[in-house]
Amino acid sequence: MSVRDLACAAGGHRLFQGIGFDVRPGELMEVRGPNGSGKTTLLRCIAGLFTEESGHVDVAVEEQPLYLGHKPGLSPLLTPLENLRWYLALRGREPRREDCLAALREVGLNGSRAVLCGSLSAGQQRRAALARLAASSAPLWLLDEPFAALDESGRGIVRSLVRTQCAGGGAVVCATHEDLGVAGAKRLEIAA
């Protein structure tokens, strides 16, 4: 994917302009910048959830990118398993129970327990959202502060998921304040 001369505005003022970069298969792009600099807006713009003021975003992949934002993307009235199966079905994939259970195990959740997401703790909800990463076949991941609300082992899971994605030829764009620990990661600084 590539971004060319991108400018975004929100609430009547310009967040950033002239942003351009490429991300190729196997690469990680860390997006850094202080609060309010537009990291989230940049990711949402790439994901197609925000309209740019000017410039181009070109996402040349056959499957839609995976987006992990501030909102969990989980219905509180469904179990993590049900949420994951709906998510996969929506992307046109066969939501096989075993695959989903394996993905949930990978993020440290017992998928066969019938607990609704609404009654999970914040950290567990975050893990349930991370299960989308574990089950993903999307070639491009867009992660917005994936470490939020996670304990040390949860952070470890994020790092290993990202490493696996990059090793498998996938690309990741990640807004973060913390090192993801992937060798050769590129970095984009957005000024406030």
Binding site: A47, G48, Q64, P65, S75, L77, L78, A89, G92
Partner: protein
């Protein structure tokens, strides 16, 4: 398959919050009661306007139900997962509409004969009343979905949604209510029912695209 997966998920959620499923019908019954009370024991007047009253109240119930169509998904972020780059949103919208109608429109249709009896509607009009509601309420749900999608990101729905949706409801009300009125006077209501069917077909064809546009916008308010 996306339609089914989406409809199945929404039905499951609706079932888990089944207290809310009763709201439209409860509103319907309450409004009918108020009408009956207001007109008192004047059964003749009541019978003359019954069909139209049932239609108008059903329409208002549909409108009120529309507000919750995307609210949950917007708040928990599942809506943005539905909207990611290049995904054909209209299939998921169709699935949502189907599930939404099953839990909010269908109960109204089933309750309509009871409401008709309570308001002294002519008996020969009841089958047509039910049929017209069965064809008309999905159209109302679809039109309501456009208004709901336009207002979901604003954090306040209610009156704004009503202002947007009600004028668009007019043709459905005209054909629906006139079907009942015509049937009450013993004539065939087939033309009206066919018109309602045509509007349903048109709504199901165009609405998912308009809703898709509006939902994308709702992410940017």
């Amino acid at each position: 398959m996306i339609v089914l997966a989406q409809a199945g998920r929404d039905l499951r959620i609706a079932f888990r919050a089944r207290g809310e499923m009763a709201h439209p019908v409860a509103f319907f019954a309450l409004a009918v009661t108020l009408f009956g009370l207001g007109l008192g024991s004047d059964l003749q007047t009541l019978g003359a306007v019954a069909v139209v009253v049932v239609w108008v109240i059903a329409l208002l119930a549909c409108m009120l139900a529309a507000e919750s169509l995307f609210r949950r998904d917007f708040e928990d972020g599942t809506l943005e997962q539905m909207l990611l780059h290049g995904r054909p949103i209209f299939l998921a919208v169709l699935g949502k509409l189907a599930a939404h109608w099953c839990v909010s429109g269908l109960p109204l249709v089933l309750f309509a004969p009871v409401a008709g009896f309570m308001l002294q509607a002519p008996t020969q009009a009841l089958p047509v009343l039910v049929a017209s509601l069965a064809i008309g309420t999905p159209t109302l749900a679809a039109i309501g979905a456009v208004a709901a999608a336009l207002t979901v990101g604003l954090g306040r729905g209610g009156l704004l949604l009503a202002l947007i949706a009600l004028p668009l409801y007019v043709p459905v009300l005209v054909f629906g209510a006139s079907a009942g009125v015509v049937a009450a006077s013993g004539l065939s209501a087939l033309p009206q029912l066919l018109w309602l069917l045509a509007m349903l077909a048109a709504a199901l064809t165009f609405v998912p695209f308009a809703v898709g546009f509006a939902l994308r916008l709702s992410q940017e308010y």
